[in-house]
Each structure stands twice: as structure tokens, then as C-alpha cells.
């Protein structure tokens, strides 16, 4: 492949459509006679619905129907049918299933009307009476009920805690320097800008075309097909643009179920959009409590490491994330022990949220390492380097590549780390305490199988498609780049499309695996198309390519050329003509090389250095400067990749300083459920953010050598900030977010 555009900072190919409003989102598609559904949410946390009065709602003009558990259609009976492709073990939540209330904000009715305004007003008139039962929602008060999570298919991508190694108890007791610490994180909600919406277009023959907000159209199709017992071919899910996902779209949300149910019952097209408040009524990043014990030699060598985490889950599903494994993979510690438990509570099942588990676990271990560095009187970076490992101690296998050392070096140098004065509270200007902190980031580099289709059109243009998603990451752009370079075409001659179940199957967009996964499929399908082109060339009379094999040719400037003699060349357009003027089409599947990949641990790494300013009296914190160096294999597009890392860093600031959904446990209800009171950073919170990509070659992760950059940017950031705050103030805050009251 001649890299003309791969590795270049190409601007988003979909950027123009997005800023001009041409890009259409799920709630913007319409249909003749579209009906509008508005969801009524439960106001209690646990109990039963004893009475529903829909009279006032139904009496309003334009109201078509109010669906409740009492009049919903008969649906699939078994739990199995409600399991989407990302469902954790358990028994999935079924909207309008029966009179039981399982969590606060649960959908209890859908009001369908001719206009959105009518539906919205009518929804406020549905009167629901409940018989309340006592609920439990507070993780910290129910730690005694913690238990091992059930394991299921999910553990394929989310391995259980590593096996213990050595003898932790003995090593910890005997260690000359010991640290025992703990960290508490609250709930967080994804809150993408785009509200969850489904527009279900009801076809003449009862076939459904569904415009859905999802990170995986095939998952929505699968779910609808199972629950409503409709053949796949009669359910098409389309989702060309997604206004942010962050994991919230990994599972179909209840508006999809409700919209499909209503459309089928009413035999009419229906749209259901959730409100911002309702965006707080499904998956979230779970609250967690973590404990870490470290035992070290005076020179910093870790002898003993224990990392234990307890997270909340719902009563109906065991959500799991990988929280404790990272510490064991990052640091040698010959004696180590890991534990991960869940506490089922009366709330909705948590859901993967940007670097799920990774940012949680790494925040704890990297703050603990910082605490240890002060106990040892050692530079925090030195301590990391002292315990650096070239082999994954959890699995006792090498890393497919690990340029973390280079990340540390390059980021430290850019930041000016050597000028740091080690004592806490030793750097100040007036009331302003200045602190420098650092931390490490780690994230998975997984690959899954995926399919793609490539078509060289009669005009010599390339159209490539795969049913993946672009949740704002830049997928459209990098896939276009890969396809363009593989077949030697300019970007403007390549059209990549995604987000449609009529396209070849691909996994949902999540876990930073799309670049490697779908990218590989795009590369392979374009190569297959190239092979077809070569066949055509060979068949031409007196063809100079007659004896050429695929390895003997390359593609550049809309031509196929012989490597041995590049003056031997043929226009792709000529080859289309050679095909009788018909388009040339190929489909391919990229498989993972499990045999090869299984021998390695495949991670992306990062090093983060942060400067904070803390007002000594008022406790306000400003992150004035942050440098992140990332080793994530090959960077396909430094511009979109940098945006991903910066987005992650901003979210790291959010997690460290601002973000938390606060529940009033007396009611089991989230209280700050709107964007005025659920704080995420605004522009004024963001100062200098610097991103470095460290060169890293990896031919194990996938054929492209890319590791994905969607999540690594957030992982190390919260700990680096918390550590900088300690350096500034001498105060170690064990509960995120670090708001000003905790520093006064």
C-alpha cells in the first residue's frame, strides 16, 4: 500500500455535513403521518403499580393511545429474547413488562399522539398510583452484600481478575514500606448531546425501517427481531450519524422497544425521543469502592500489590467491567492479589462508559502509586520506572508492543518534569498553590472479525461500506483513507458508508476497536477488489500483467502498476471498461489471528503530566497544563486521533473535578438530572492540552498495526490531576470529583 493519505491530518470527511446540518440524526428522519411517543417515567424506586388512570390523557385532542403494561401486546416470553448482543449475564429489563417497578425513572407508559406537543402534555396527565416497597441504592451502605459477578459471554472481552501470584499476605506484612489506601467514585451518566431517539417507519407490508441512535445498528436489529419475533430481513436499522455515544449506545435503549411496539400495534410510523432527564434513566458508569495495598522496598521495588474493587449493579443483571487487572499488568509486583465484586441494588444496570473500568481502576492504582512515592521520598516517575515490566505479569506473556517508557520520557521532557520541586506545597504564587502530578494510562487493543463491501463503480469511483458506526470518532474519515490508499485513489473518489444493517456485518463501535477491526476489513476487501482488477488486467489481450501476481502490483494515482517496472500501468477505469462497463463488487471478512494474538497482551499506553493551580483559601482548581504521550501503534490520522485524545483529557478533567450524578438515596432518585446541574467542563475550564504520539510498530494487533485511541486519552488523566492537587496542597482526596469544598 502506498501511503498517500494514511498518517496525514485529513479533516473529517463528514465535517461539512455535520456543521451545515445536512447530517441527519435518528430523530430527524420523518415519515408520512408520523406519530410521536412520549415516555412516562416512574417516580418511585421499588414497588408495584396499583392503578393507572389514562382518562385525562386520552381525552385530549390528537392523543392516539397510551401504552402501559396492562394493554401492551403479547411479546416474546423468554429472557433470552431480550438479550441484546452486549447484554451482561442476567435477565434483561423489559419495558412495560408488568406492574413491578425495579428502579426510579423506569418507563411505565408511552403516550402516542399526532404531535410531539400533544404527547408531551398528555404524558403529564397520566396518573399512576404505586405501592412502594423499601429500596436499596447506596453502594457504601450495602458493601456487606458484595458477591462475585456471574460470568457470561461478556467475559470474552472483559476477563475476570487475574489469578493471585506469589504470597501477597506474607510479602505485604514483611514489606518495609506499606501503604493501604482506598478510593470512592460516584455515578456518572454518558450524556451525549444527542438524546436517545428512534424513528420507526412502518412499511406497507409491515416491514420496519428504524432510524435509531445506536453504536451498532446490527445490535438494534437483532434485539427488535428477537423481542418482536420479526425476521431479520423485515427489520432494517439505519444510523448514519450518532451525536455522541461514549458507550451509552452499546445497548438498545428502551425508546427503541417502545417505538417499535407502538408502530406495530398502530400500524403507523412512530418516533420516540427521550428527554434530558430520561437520559439519566438507563446505563451509567457504576459507583465503585476500591482498596489498594502496596508493599515496597525502600528503593521502590514493589513486592506486594493488592487491588480490590466493589461496584454496583442492578438486581437483574450483573454488569462487569475490568477494574483491577490493569495494576497487575502494569507493575511487576511478584506477590499480588486481585478481587472484583458487585453489589446488586435497585437501579438500572450500569453500562460501559468511555474506558469502562480502565479509568476507574487506573485512577486508583495511579493515585496509590503517587501516595507510595511520597512515603518513599521518591520521584513518582522514578517509582513507575523502577517497577516497569516488559512482560505482562498477569498472563506471563510479552506485550505485542509497549512504548510506555518512551511515553514517560517524551511527555516528561515536554512538560519539564525535571524542574519539579518534590515537596508538596513547595510551589506557589501568592494564594495560588501550584502542583505537578503524573500518571499512567493503559487500555485494550482488541480486534474482532468484521465484514465490508467494496464496489468500483462504472465511473471508477470506490464505494466501501460496513455496518459499523461513527459516534464522532472519525471512522468515516479513516476508513476513507484506508480504502483510498489501498486502491491508489484520491480521497474524493472514495465514499465510505456505515450504520445500516443492509451493509455487511460489523461489531458495534466501542472499546476502541473500530479502527483495527473495521479498518482491517476495509483493507482486506479493497485488496480483494484489487485482486479482481488484476484478474481483469491479466485477461486483456497481450497484457503486460499476464504473469503478475497480486504481490507484484501496486495501486497509485487511479492506476495499477507493476512494482518491477512502474511504467507498466493501467487505469482502473480501463479495467472497469474491460469488465463490460459493469461495476466490480467484492465482499470480505477480516478474521482475527487468535493463535498469534493470543500469545501477546495487546495494550495501548499513555503517560500524563499535569499542572494544577489551587487557590489555597478558596479550594478552586484550574488544570493549567497537561501533556499526554500516547503509544497506540500506528496513527492513521493525527488530526482525528488528537481530537480523540483531547476529548479524553477533557473528560479526565471532568471526572477528576466536576462530574457526578448525585442520588438522594431516600428516594433512590438522581437529583442533578439535567445539564445545568450535572457538571462537565466548559471552555473556561480548559487550558493548555498537549498530545504527543509516540512511534510504535505492532504487527500483532491487526493487519494495520493500529490500537485505537478512543479511550486511552481519559485513562490516566484523573489520577494525574489528583496527584498534582496533592503536590500543590498536601491534601489527598479519596473521593472523586475533587470539588472545592474538599480542598478548603
Amino acid at each position: 500500500m502506498h501511503n498517500q493519505v494514511i498518517g496525514k491530518p485529513i479533516s473529517r470527511v463528514d465535517g461539512r455535513a455535520k456543521v451545515t446540518g445536512k447530517a441527519k440524526y435518528a430523530a430527524e428522519f420523518t415519515a408520512p403521518d408520523l406519530l410521536h411517543g412520549v415516555v412516562v417515567s416512574s417516580t418511585i424506586t421499588k414497588g408495584r403499580i396499583t392503578h393507572i388512570d389514562t382518562g385525562d390523557a386520552l381525552a385530549l385532542d390528537g392523543v392516539v393511545k397510551v401504552f402501559t403494561h396492562q394493554n401492551r401486546p403479547k411479546l416474546a416470553w423468554f429472557d433470552m429474547s431480550y438479550k441484546d448482543l452486549d447484554a451482561p449475564p442476567g435477565s434483561p429489563f423489559r419495558p412495560l413488562h408488568n406492574d413491578r417497578i425495579k428502579y426510579n425513572g423506569q418507563p411505565v407508559a408511552l403516550v402516542v399522539a399526532e404531535t410531539f406537543e400533544q404527547a408531551r402534555y398528555a404524558a403529564s396527565l397520566v396518573k399512576i398510583e404505586y405501592a412502594q416497597e423499601p429500596h436499596e441504592t447506596d453502594l457504601q451502605h450495602h458493601l456487606d452484600t458484595a458477591r462475585k459477578p456471574a460470568s457470561g459471554l461478556a467475559s470474552l472481552l472483559k476477563p475476570p481478575p487475574p489469578k493471585a501470584r506469589g504470597n501477597f499476605d506474607k510479602a505485604f506484612t514483611e514489606a518495609p514500606v506499606q501503604l493501604s489506601t482506598g478510593y470512592v467514585h460516584g455515578f456518572e451518566h454518558h450524556n451525549p448531546m444527542e438524546l436517545f431517539s428512534s424513528t420507526v417507519v412502518y412499511g406497507k407490508d409491515g416491514k420496519l425501517t428504524i432510524y435509531d441512535k445506536t453504536q451498532g445498528a446490527p445490535n438494534s436489529q437483532f434485539y427488535v427481531s428477537q423481542v418482536f419475533n420479526i425476521p431479520f430481513r423485515d427489520v432494517r436499522v439505519v444510523s448514519p450519524y450518532v451525536g455522541g455515544g461514549f458507550g451509552s449506545g452499546l445497548r438498545p435503549q428502551y425508546q427503541l422497544f417502545l417505538a417499535v411496539m407502538a408502530a406495530r400495534e398502530l400500524k403507523q410510523s412512530v418516533r420516540v425521543s427521550l428527554t434530558r432527564q430520561q437520559m439519566f434513566t438507563f446505563g451509567h458508569r457504576p459507583a465503585t469502592v476500591q482498596h489498594i495495598d502496596l508493599g515496597a522496598q525502600p528503593d521502590g521495588t514493589l513486592d506486594a500489590l493488592r487491588h480490590a474493587a466493589t461496584a454496583e449493579t442492578s438486581r437483574f443483571e450483573d454488569y462487569i467491567e475490568v477494574v483491577v487487572n490493569w495494576s497487575g499488568a502494569l507493575y511487576k509486583a511478584p506477590n499480588a492479589q486481585f478481587d472484583y465484586n458487585v453489589v446488586p441494588l435497585d437501579q438500572y444496570t450500569p453500562l460501559d462508559m468511555r474506558a469502562p473500568g480502565g479509568v476507574t481502576g487506573m485512577s486508583a492504582i495511579e493515585c496509590a502509586m503517587d501516595e507510595l512515592s511520597y512515603k518513599l521520598g521518591m520521584d513518582p516517575l522514578e517509582l513507575r520506572l523502577k517497577n516497569y515490566t516488559e512482560e505482562d505479569p498477569n498472563e506471563k506473556r510479552p506485550f505485542s508492543s509497549k512504548q510506555l517508557r518512551a511515553c514517560y520520557q517524551q511527555a516528561a521532557e515536554r512538560f519539564g518534569w525535571t524542574k519539579r520541586s518534590p515537596e508538596p506545597r513547595s510551589m506557589r504564587e501568592g494564594h495560588t498553590l501550584i502542583g505537578w502530578g503524573m500518571a499512567t494510562g493503559v487500555w485494550d487493543a482488541n480486534q474482532l472479525p468484521a465484514r465490508a463491501e467494496a464496489v468500483l463503480t462504472v465511473n471508477g469511483k470506490l464505494r466501501v461500506s460496513s455496518a459499523t458506526a461513527d459516534i464522532g470518532t472519525g471512522t468515516y474519515t479513516i476508513m476513507t483513507q484506508i480504502a483510498a490508499d489501498t486502491l491508489g485513489l484520491p480521497l474524493e473518489d472514495v465514499l465510505f458508508r456505515l450504520g445500516d444493517t443492509d451493509m455487511p456485518l460489523a461489531p458495534f463501535q466501542g472499546g476502541s476497536l473500530t479502527a483495527g477491526t473495521v479498518g482491517s476489513a476495509v483493507k482486506i476487501v479493497c485488496e480483494d477488489l484489487g485482486k479482481e482488477l488484476l484478474k481483469l488486467a491479466r485477461k486483456m489481450p497481450n497484457s503486460p500483467f499476464a504473469k503478475a501476481k497480486f504481490d507484484d502490483v501496486f495501486f497509485v494515482e487511479k492506476q495499477m502498476r507493476l512494482k518491477a517496472d512502474p511504467s507498466v500501468r493501467i487505469d482502473l477505469q480501463t479495467l472497469v471498461d474491460q469488465n463490460g462497463g459493469r461495476a466490480i463488487r467484492t465482499t470480505a471478512t477480516s478474521m482475527t489471528n487468535s493463535l498469534k494474538q493470543g500469545k501477546y497482551t495487546r495494550y495501548a499506553h499513555s503517560a500524563v503530566f499535569v499542572e494544577v493551580q489551587v487557590d489555597e483559601d478558596l479550594g478552586t482548581v484550574k488544570v493549567t497544563r497537561a501533556v499526554t504521550a500516547v503509544a497506540a501503534g500506528r496513527i492513521l490520522n493525527p488530526k482525528t486521533a488528537r481530537s480523540q485524545i483531547i476529548g479524553g483529557m477533557v473528560w479526565g478533567i471532568s471526572k477528576a473535578l466536576e462530574e457526578e450524578t448525585v442520588m438522594d438515596h431516600r428516594y433512590g432518585r438522581f437529583m442533578n438530572h439535567n445539564l445545568a446541574e450535572y457538571h462537565v467542563p466548559v471552555c473556561a475550564d480548559i487550558h493548555e492540552l498537549d498530545v504527543l504520539f509516540v512511534e510504535e510498530h505492532d504487527d500483532v494487533v491487526n493487519p494495520l498495526g493500529v490500537k485505537g485511541v478512543g479511550e486511552i486519552g481519559i485513562v490516566g488523566m484523573p489520577a494525574a490531576i489528583a496527584n498534582a492537587i496533592f503536590h500543590a496542597t498536601g491534601k489527598r482526596v479519596h473521593e472523586l470529583p475533587i470539588t472545592l469544598d474538599k480542598l478548603m
Partner: protein, 347 residues
């Protein structure tokens, strides 16, 4: 939201008449930045909206006594950036610009800002108990959800009613009004009984046992303007706002500090006049002339400022999540006064 009738009068009298026709069911609407949110949440359910944007109340005028009249319909943005406000009342400019976002300030009006309702989470959620919202079953259950609940943003002062009970610990969320309190602005209103003026200190009220009422306006009254007295304390002033992010968040605690300094002798300055008001701590902008009196005649030092802070915060009480505000408020007052006296830089 509930369907409503929409009227668009062009004169003050007509607007007052439209409202008086249905005193319980009609509301004025100006920028709509607060009212429409509350209607969507069903916290407010007017059946008539009287849009006042066509009334001739959108000017800033100089007064004969050297003061300035700010029309009720002048936007917060236009007020903050008005050259006369910037020059003569920089404290007001700073306070307005510390609030909301540029987009909101472009819509929000001076009149509407006075009436913005509390940001108490329980007030906003009709399934939660709230005495302030409660006026009937459709407005959700009675009681105060915040009192023993999540009250991080709530009041620490003036919460007790005459009977010693606490019915509401909401705060008035405005930044602008804190500066108006320090500047001793006067609110001009027009109503069924004609015109009257209300000193800003008497405009908002404490919750007592009727937290439904945020202010002392009578039914049907319309705010036409806000008058600023001649003295704008334009040399020595500071608006310090502490919040959970650097912009676009309501104040946890805010301080409007304004001083006049006189050179008393060779060794330094003496405070000859002082104004001090706080936001985020009570149901109204919190000001006590006793606290200001402690400053007058003194040298501007942190100790003196601390004593004024103690006086202003006398009787402060925390309710759990918001207890930190008592200490934070004290430090904020000292800092704001130091900034006003130019002993400390402002950000």
C-alpha cells in the same frame, strides 16, 4: 407543556390589564430563559402568557440625580456591556457577566433576572416534595426535600421562619441581584394601583412559612425599570463568584464588595464607605448594614475584613452538604474585600 394562550400587548397598561384579568393563571414572559424551562418541567403551568417584549422598556437612561435607569427589557448582555454601566457601575457589569452563558445573557432581561426562581433540585422535579412549588396536588407533594436531602447548593442564612421551623432552604440564584443589592438599586413597578418603587433590599424576601413567594410584588404588577443611584463605587469593587466550574454554573457563594477609600495619613488608606452583599447563601441577596458599619473608618486589612465577614454571616447554619459554605463564605468575603481594596489581584 400545558397549552396556553399567548398575548402580545404593546403598552404597559395593557400588559398589566392582561395579567390582572387572570391573576393566578397568567404570567409575563420576557427572555423566556427561566420560565420556559419551568413550564417544560411542569413546575410553572400558566394558561396565559403575556409576552412583554413589545413594551417600550428596552432603554438605558441617565437620571437627573446622576443615577442610571435600566429598562426591564434591556438584555443582561446589553446592560453589562453598556458604556455607562461599564464606566460607572463596573460591579454590576462583572456580576452579570459572571452569570449564565453568553447565549443566555443575550436573551435574558433585567426584569426576568429579578424573578428567576431557585435552582433547588427538588423544586425542579415535580415528583419530589417541595414547599416552594407546592400550591396544589398537581404541583407535587408538600414538604422540603432538600432539608434532609442533597442540599449542596442551598442556603445557610435566613432560613428559619418566625415559629422557629425551617420550611425552605432555597437560595436566590441571581448574580445580578447581588450587585444590585450592594448598589442599593430601586425597582420600579407598574400595577393595577399605579406605579411604585421598591428598594432592592425589600424586593426579595425570606421564605418564612410561605416559601411559595419569592418577592414582594403584588398581583398584576410589572417591573418597568431598575434605578441605580449615582454612587457606583466604580473605583473599588469586586464581584467574586465561587462555583463548581469556571463558567456556566450557579454560585455556591458569591460576594459583591464595594468600597470608598480615603487617604487618612501618610501611612495609608481608610475605608470611608462600604457595601457588602452575598449570593448563594440565602433566599435573597444577603446584606447587613451592621457588617458594613464595621468597615467604615477602618484600614483595609484582612482582620477588619474578617470581622465584617463574621458579622455578615452571623447565625449561619449548615444543613449537611452545604455546611462548607459557612467557611467558604467567610474566606470569599475577605478575598473579595481585599480585591475591592486592590490588595489582591482579581482574575
Amino acid at each position: 407543556m400545558k397549552p396556553f394562550q399567548y398575548l402580545r400587548p404593546t403598552g404597559v397598561d395593557a400588559a398589566v390589564r392582561d395579567l390582572t384579568a387572570q391573576p393566578d393563571a397568567a404570567k409575563f414572559i420576557a427572555g423566556g430563559t427561566n420560565l420556559i424551562d419551568l413550564m417544560k418541567e411542569h413546575v410553572e403551568q400558566p394558561t396565559t402568557l403575556v409576552d412583554i417584549n413589545r413594551l417600550p422598556l428596552a432603554t438605558v437612561e441617565e437620571l437627573e440625580d446622576g443615577g442610571l435607569r435600566l429598562g426591564a427589557l434591556v438584555t443582561n448582555a446589553d446592560t453589562a456591556y453598556h458604556p455607562l454601566v461599564e464606566q460607572r457601575y463596573p460591579l454590576l457589569s462583572k456580576a452579570i457577566l459572571a452569570g449564565a452563558s453568553a447565549q443566555l445573557r443575550n436573551m435574558a432581561t433585567n426584569g426576568g433576572n429579578l424573578f428567576q426562581r431557585t435552582r433547588c433540585y427538588y423544586f425542579y422535579d415535580t415528583s419530589m416534595p417541595c414547599n416552594k412549588r407546592h400550591s396544589g396536588p398537581s404541583q407535587g407533594p408538600a414538604g422540603c426535600g432538600a432539608l434532609h436531602g442533597y442540599n449542596r447548593i442551598h442556603a445557610i442564612l435566613g432560613t428559619e421562619s418566625a415559629d422557629g421551623n425551617v420550611h425552605c432552604i432555597a437560595t436566590h440564584p441571581s448574580d445580578m441581584c447581588v450587585a444590585l443589592a450592594a448598589l442599593e438599586a430601586v425597582v420600579r413597578v407598574s400595577g393595577p394601583q399605579g406605579e411604585r418603587t421598591i428598594p432592592i433590599a425589600d424586593f426579595h424576601r425570606l421564605p418564612g412559612d410561605t416559601p411559595q413567594h419569592d418577592n414582594t410584588l403584588r398581583p398584576g404588577e410589572l417591573v418597568t425599570a431598575i434605578d441605580l443611584p449615582a454612587n457606583g463605587f466604580s473605583h473599588y469593587n469586586s464581584y467574586l463568584k465561587l462555583r463548581d466550574r469556571a463558567s456556566y454554573a450557579f454560585a455556591l457563594v458569591s460576594v459583591a464588595a464595594a468600597l470608598e477609600l480615603e487617604r487618612s495619613d501618610a501611612s495609608g488608606d481608610q475605608i470611608s464607605a462600604a457595601r457588602l452583599a452575598m449570593g448563594g447563601v440565602a433566599h435573597k441577596p444577603w446584606r447587613k448594614t451592621e457588617a458594613e458599619a464595621l468597615l467604615v473608618g477602618q484600614r483595609p486589612t484582612p482582620d477588619v475584613f474578617g470581622r465584617a465577614a463574621d458579622a455578615l454571616l452571623d447565625g449561619a447554619q449548615g444543613y449537611g452538604h452545604n455546611t462548607f459554605k459557612i467557611e467558604l463564605a467567610k474566606r470569599a468575603i475577605v478575598r473579595a474585600l481585599s480585591q475591592a481594596a486592590k490588595l489582591e489581584p482579581t482574575e
